[in-house]
Subunit: 331 residues, 2 copies
C-alpha cells in the first residue's frame, strides 16, 4: 500500500488532548495544510476569569512544535513566575498556567469578550503559531463534559486535574450539547469533495471523542462525507498508553480492549486500527481492522502511525468501490 496519495486529498482528524495531538502531529507532517483537526472543547472551562481550551491549545502547541515535551501540554521553555506569585497570594493553584501559556488564555478570553467566535480565535492563534493544518474547535457553543462519579458530578477539569481522575466514573454527560452545532468550518471540512478519510485519534473515547460526537449533526456529517472513518484504538494489550481510559472502562463495566473500543464506535467507524500486540483480536472485531505499532514515542512513530491511518483509509475507500465483501477482515 502506498502513501503517495493524490496531492489534493484532504483528511480530517478528530482529537482530544495529548494522545490525539501526537497522531495529529504525524498526520500534519504528511499532509500539511491538507489536514483539518476537529478538536474536543468539552474540556473547556472558565478559570481565573479566563476561557481555557486545553485540547485546542495542546493541538496548537503540538503542531507548532512549542509544546512541553515532558508533559505533552503547555509550552516548552516556559516560565512559572505567575503561578508562584498567585500561590503566594493564596489564589487557586491546582491548574498550572505557565507565563507564556497564560497569554493564549488571556488573548482568547479578550477576543471572546469582543464577540469573536472560538473558531475564529483558534484560527488566529494557530496562524500566529505558524501551524499549517487547520485546527477547529468542534463547535462554537458551550458544551461541557461533566463526569458523574461516586464523589458526585464533577466538571471535567475538576475530575481530571484537581482530583487526578481518582473518583470512580458512573456516567458522563455533555451539558449544553442540545444547543451546540458543528461550526460552518467543521461542516465545510466534512463536506469537502476532496476528503479522503476521517481519523479518530487515539484519544479517550469517552472523555475526549464522545463530546465531539455529542454535537448534534456532527456524526451525521461524518457519515454524509462519504469518506472512510477510522479510529485508532487507545487501548494496547488491555492498557491505556496514558490517562484514565482503561480505568474508566473498568468503572463502566467494560473490559479494556481494542474490541470494546470497536464496540463503542460501532456504526460510526468503517475501520479500527489496533496495535500489533492486539493482532489476535482482529477476528473478534466485526469491522475491517488494521494492526500496526500504535505507541508513539518519537516523531517517526507519529509519522509512521499517520501513514498507516492514511493507507487504511485508502484501502477502505478502494474496498468500498469494489463489489461487496464480508464486513470484517484485515486491511
Amino acid at each position: 500500500m502506498s502513501t503517495q496519495r493524490p496531492d489534493g486529498e484532504r483528511y480530517v482528524a478528530l482529537s482530544g488532548g495529548v494522545g490525539g495531538a501526537k497522531l495529529a502531529l504525524g498526520l500534519a507532517h504528511l499532509l500539511g495544510d491538507r489536514l483539518t483537526i476537529i478538536v474536543n472543547t468539552g474540556d473547556d472551562f472558565e478559570h481565573l476569569g479566563l476561557h481555557i481550551s486545553p485540547d485546542v491549545d495542546t493541538a496548537i502547541y503540538t503542531l507548532a512544535g512549542v509544546v512541553n515535551p515532558d508533559t505533552g501540554w503547555g509550552r516548552r521553555d516556559e516560565t512559572w513566575t505567575f503561578m508562584a506569585a498567585l500561590q503566594g497570594l493564596g489564589g487557586p493553584s491546582w491548574f498550572k498556567l505557565g507565563d507564556a501559556d497564560l497569554a493564549t488564555h488571556v488573548e482568547r478570553t479578550r477576543r471572546l469578550g469582543a464577540g469573536e467566535t472560538l473558531t475564529g480565535i483558534t484560527t488566529h492563534l494557530a496562524e500566529r503559531f505558524g501551524v499549517a493544518a487547520r485546527i477547529l474547535p468542534m463547535c462554537n457553543e458551550r458544551l461541557r463534559t461533566v463526569i458523574e462519579t461516586d464523589a458526585g458530578a464533577l466538571a471535567f477539569q475538576d475530575y481530571f486535574v484537581r482530583q487526578q481522575c481518582r473518583p470512580s466514573v458512573r456516567a458522563i454527560r455533555f451539558d449544553g450539547a442540545q444547543a451546540a452545532k458543528p461550526s460552518p468550518q467543521v461542516c465545510a471540512a466534512l463536506a469537502d469533495p476532496a476528503l479522503a478519510g476521517i481519523v479518530i485519534c487515539p484519544s479517550n473515547p469517552w472523555l475526549s471523542v464522545d463530546p465531539i460526537l455529542a454535537v448534534p449533526g456532527l456524526p451525521a456529517a461524518l457519515r454524509a462525507s462519504g469518506a472512510p472513518v477510522i479510529a485508532v484504538s487507545p487501548i494496547i494489550a488491555g492498557r491505556a498508553v496514558k490517562g484514565p481510559t482503561a480505568k474508566i472502562m473498568r468503572e463502566l463495566d467494560l473490559e479494556p480492549s481494542a474490541a470494546r473500543i470497536a464496540g463503542h464506535y460501532a456504526g460510526r467507524i468503517d475501520g479500527l486500527l489496533i496495535d500489533a500486540e492486539d493482532g489476535a483480536l482482529a477476528d473478534a472485531i466485526p469491522i475491517p481492522v488494521r494492526s500496526a505499532r500504535t505507541l508513539m514515542r518519537s516523531l517517526d512513530d507519529k509519522i509512521g502511525l499517520a501513514r498507516e491511518c492514511i493507507d487504511f483509509c485508502a484501502a477502505l475507500q478502494a474496498k468500498a468501490k469494489r463489489p461487496a465483501q464480508s464486513a470484517g477482515g484485515r486491511l
Copy 2:
C-alpha cells in the same frame, strides 16, 4: 521639634502612584501599623479582562519592598514571558504586565467576581505581601478619571500610558463620582480619635489626589477628623520631580509653583510642606508653610521627609491649641 510622638498617634496619608508611595514608605518606616494610606483608584481600569488598580499596587509593592526600583511601579525581579507571548499573538501590549504582577490582577479580578470588595481584597493582598500599614482604596465604587484633552476625552491609562501624557489637558472629570462614597474603613480611619495628622503625599494634585477628594463626603470627613491636614508640594522650583504635573498646570493656565499648589488645596489643608529651594515662596502662601528637602532619592530621604510631615502636623496641632495667631507663617 521632636518626632518622638506618642505611640498611639495614628496618621493618614492620601496617595496616588509612584511619588506618593515614596513618602508613604517613609511614613510607614516611622509609623508601621499606625499608618493608613488612602489610595487613588481613579486610575483603575479594566484591561484584558482584568481589574487593574495601578496606584493601589504601587502602594503595596513599595511598602512590601518588592517594587521595581528602576520604574517605581511593577515588581522587582520580574519576568516578562507573558507579555512577550501576548505580543506574539497580536494582543494589546501597550500596558506592560509582568508575570508576577499579573498574579495580583488575576487574583483581584477573581475575588471581585466572587463578590469581595476592593477594600477587602486590598487588605488581603497587603497582608500577603507582609505590609504592616493599612492600605485602603479611597472607595469601593467605580470612579474613573477621564482626561479631556485636545485629542478628545481619554480614559486615564489611555492618556497616561498609551499616549504618554502627550495630549494637552483641558479639564479632568471623575466619572461615577456621584455614586461613590468613602468605604467604612476609610471613614473609620478618619474618625479615629488617635488620628494626629493627615498627609497629602506629593502626588499629582489634579490626576491623583483630586479623584480621592472627589469622593463625596471624603473632604468633609478629612475636616471633621479635627486632625491637621498637610500637603507636600509636588512642584520644586517650578518643576515636577516626575510625571506631567507641571505640564498639566501650564495647560490649565496655572503657573507651576508651590504657591499654586497651596491655592489648589485652599480650604482643604492646614499647611503646605514645600521644598527648601522654594523657601522664598513661603510668605506668598497664606497658610502655614514648612520648607524641607522634598526630593526623595534614598530611603533616608523618604524617612526624613516623613519625619518633617509628622513634625509639621504636630506643630500645627500645637498651634491650634494656642490662642489665635495669624493664618500664615513658617512652622
